[in-house]
């Protein structure tokens, strides 16, 4: 009896120890698995969060850039207006002759709010792209501009170019996120040639005219982007 009993006891203890070993092994494995999976999950989450910058933030950044662009162009035109020959107001070309006027853009709020986001973005990008060349021409001809504030104008032109470039790059990224419709750009070639005039007055007038066209287009870009931003950030009314 006793022998049996001891045998049973031995068996039980052995089994218990075996069970314990198995359990511990399992635990270790599970722990490893969970830790590994946890690690993987965290890595994925980080990657996702890093790459998934919300579009509203991107648009916010873009609209800040466009705002800056517009303010620069506004000050530039004001500077140019301060030293403008009176006759220039008479013989200045009409804004309809801006090279970007062929682009059909909304002209009031109602129309603008009806345009889709991708169209708005496309318009903005088209306009911005249309001014790359003219800005180059302007920056080249500003050195000979017969204006008292010629150096500051020159600096501002350069700034304009930089901002325009960075904004264009940002808009390209945003358009990449918004789908193929946003990718279409209307080309608006500049046909003004490489110089803006021969004599002083024509230079001034042409410069002024180009800047006024640019001011209008920068305002359009700014407005479109801000509408887009407001529309993208529906949960954040302070964006509007």
């Amino acid at each position: 009896m006793e022998a049996k009993w001891t045998k049973r006891m031995k068996k039980r203890t052995r089994k218990r120890s075996d069970d314990q070993q198995i359990r511990s092994k399992r635990k270790a494995m599970a722990h490893r698995r969970t830790s590994g999976s946890k690690l993987l999950m965290t890595v994925l989450y980080m990657v996702a969060s890093c790459s998934a910058v919300p579009i509203s933030d991107l648009l916010d950044r873009a609209s800040q850039g466009s705002d800056k662009l517009h303010s620069l162009s506004t000050t530039l035109t004001q500077v140019l207006d301060s030293h403008f020959p009176p006759i220039g107001r008479v013989i200045t070309p009409r804004p309809s002759t801006c090279h970007t006027s062929s682009l059909h853009t909304p002209n009031d709020k109602a129309q603008a709010l009806q345009v889709s986001e991708s169209d708005l973005l496309s318009l903005a990008r088209s306009l911005l792209a249309a001014w790359v060349d003219p800005l180059v021409v302007l920056s080249a001809s500003v050195n000979t501009l017969p204006h008292p504030a010629q150096s500051s104008i020159s600096n501002k032109i350069q700034e304009l170019q930089q901002h325009s470039k960075s904004l264009g790059d940002g808009l390209d990224i945003i358009s990449g996120k918004m789908g193929p419709a946003a990718q279409a750009i209307s080309t608006l070639p500049y046909r003004g040639g490489n110089d803006i005039g021969q004599d002083k007055i024509s230079k001034l007038i042409n410069f002024h005219f180009l800047m006024s066209c640019f001011r209008r287009d920068s305002h359009k870009i700014d407005s479109f982007l801000k509408v887009l931003r407001c529309r993208a950030a529906k949960m954040q009314p302070e964006m509007c």
């Binding site: 009409r94 804004p95 009031d108 709010l113 209008r216 407005s223």
Partner: protein
């Protein structure tokens, strides 16, 4: 003739001119040219233009505004002349387009004619100027004891803030009551702001304005004012009161402490007791009277009474041929009496030995001032002239030299004499006869010199004394004995020759009367010597009757013998 016609033509012209002038002065003319003052779009959706009419020419003139617009064919007239007031044209949403040029003209017309103003070119984008912000509220707020102004407003009337078509940026300015300077802050697109650097107790005025995109700023809103409270002042008062009230008991406490500082000092710093020796009075020591100090220091110490031996000055025997020699001077000096024991055998035939040590002893004895007048005198008396010089006794062969020396008393006679005596000691030493022997070697607590005398039995030769053994009552110096030393007087048994005295042996018996101090041995003798011839143990004090010798004082041997 041609000159006249020419003149007539000129006159006609002049008349016509005059007439036209007259007509004009009658205020009947076509209207003056109106002037377009400007246009304004408050929200980028509508705009209004105003003109200034010219003179009306005295007639009712009407003004009409016509515009041409880019991308719009034809000339159009103002859609609304009323909404914006007189001489204005209001373009509503349907008629407003942005990013297109407008060419505006105003035509004033009356019965006499029309007048067209200059063309005014504008784009809505350029004329945007919003309304002033609305409901500007100003509140004084408090956070953690900091005061700040909270300014809040609302967007201008009719401005779209929901679609993003316009972006409003605000600006405010603040002014304190007394100064004229405004401080400007940009709020951005927020419609509230907190101003932290404000002072209490002043009146603040605030104004807000705004701008759309990068257009023109609106007008400043109406000034809103608020008074900031004076809290810290009140708090200061409170704390001043508190400190004053608490200072009063504090000051009283300090006064009490200062007045009673001694008590406080005693209480806080009790004096440390100094060391105390029982029986010693520190004050006494300080005062420093020596006897008192000594008395204080010495505690119940009882010394033995002074010098018992003083009381026991024995009468000394002066033995001389001439009788008793009373040497008063010597008696004064005498401190010690010479005691010759009964067994004293004065053998003057003995030669004294070694005069030089004796001489020394003599000198010493001199110094000591112990007088042994009796003995010396006795010697002198016995030797009859040979004893003129003091003979130091012969030192005994046995023991002490010194005791003998002590007995070698110097009298008041001059030391020179002694010395001379010393020189001549050889001879007369033969005559000196007593020998000092210290017999009692047992410790008897002798303070003083124990002196013993042995009877000389026989003298053999020049140097040898044979002493008698036996119960010779040696005598002790009286000094050591406190007890009543029995005094005895020995009767002189026999006188042999010139130098010899044979004494009778006597028993010890005290005779206190003989211990009288001083010189009055005669008294003693008187008392005792009644029976000079009594033999035996009776005391006999032989005094004056002795021939050639006085009586001899004997002290019987102590019982220990």
């Amino acid at each position: 003739m041609t000159v006249c016609t020419r003149m007539r033509g000129h006159l006609g012209l002049a008349l016509l001119l005059l007439l036209s002038a007259a007509v004009e002065s009658n205020s009947m003319s076509p209207p003056g040219k109106p002037v377009l003052l400007g246009c304004r779009s408050p929200e980028k959706e509508t705009f209004t233009c105003w003109w200034e009419p010219g003179s009306d020419g005295g007639l009712k003139t009407t003004h009409r505004l016509f515009y041409e617009r880019e991308r719009l064919e034809g000339k159009h007239e103002c859609p609304d002349y009323r909404s914006a007031g007189r001489n204005s044209c209001f373009f509503d949403r349907d008629h407003t387009s942005i990013w297109v040029d407008y060419h505006l003209t105003v035509v004033a017309s009356n019965e006499l004619g029309n007048t067209t103003s200059d063309i005014f070119k504008m784009d809505v984008m350029e004329i945007v100027k919003p309304n002033t912000p609305e409901n500007v509220t100003l509140l004084v707020m408090k956070r953690e004891d900091n005061l700040y102004l909270h300014v809040r407003w609302e967007p201008p009337y009719n401005t779209d803030t929901k679609s993003g078509w316009v972006t409003i940026k605000y600006e405010l300015r603040v002014k304190q009551e007394k100064s004229n300077e405004w401080k400007e802050y940009t709020s951005g697109t927020e419609t509230h702001i907190n101003l932290y650097n404000i002072n209490p107790g002043t009146l603040y005025a605030v104004q807000v304005r705004c701008r759309l995109d990068h257009g023109s700023w609106s007008e400043w809103s109406n000034s809103t004012s608020v008074n900031t409270p004076d809290y810290p002042h009140n708090e200061k008062l409170f704390w001043i009161l508190v400190s004053m009230l608490s200072a009063v008991p504090f000051i009283t406490a300090m006064c009490i402490l200062v007045m009673k500082r001694k008590n406080v000092k005693q209480y806080l710093l009790p004096p440390v007791p100094g060391p105390k020796i029982r029986g010693v009075d520190v004050q006494l020591l300080k005062r420093g009277r020596s006897e008192d100090v000594i008395n204080a220091l010495i505690i119940n110490q009882s010394f033995p009474p002074m010098v018992a031996w003083k009381d026991q000055i024995e009468e000394y025997l002066i033995v001389s041929d001439d009788g008793l020699l009373l040497d008063p001077s010597s008696s004064q000096k005498r401190k010690k009496s010479l005691i010759i024991p009964a067994g004293f055998h004065l053998d003057l035939g003995i030669q004294c030995k070694e005069p030089t040590p004796v001489q020394r002893d003599l000198q010493k004895a001199e110094e000591r001032k112990n007088e042994m007048d009796n003995f010396v005198k006795a010697n002198t008396s016995l030797t009859e002239g040979n004893l003129s010089d003091m003979e130091p006794p012969q030192p005994p062969t046995q023991k002490q030299l010194f005791p003998i020396a002590s007995f070698v008393k110097t009298t008041d006679q001059s030391p020179s004499k002694h010395n001379s005596a010393a020189e001549n000691t050889v001879k007369p030493l033969a005559n000196c006869g007593y020998v000092d022997i210290q017999r009692h070697e047992n410790a008897k607590e002798v303070d003083v010199i124990e002196v013993d005398y042995s009877r000389v039995k026989e003298v053999s030769g020049d140097n040898i004394l044979i002493l008698q053994r036996g119960n010779i009552p040696g005598y002790m110096d009286i000094q050591r004995q406190k007890e009543n030393i029995p005094e005895d007087y020995s009767r002189v048994k026999e006188v042999d020759g010139d130098n010899k005295v044979l004494l009778q042996r006597q028993n010890a018996s005290t005779d206190s009367s003989c211990r009288e101090k001083g010189n009055h041995y005669t008294d003693c003798t008187n008392q005792k010597l009644r029976n000079p011839h009594v033999t035996g143990p009776s005391k006999v004090g032989v005094c004056t009757e002795l021939i050639g010798s006085g009586y001899v004082d004997t002290i019987p041997a102590p019982p220990l013998m």
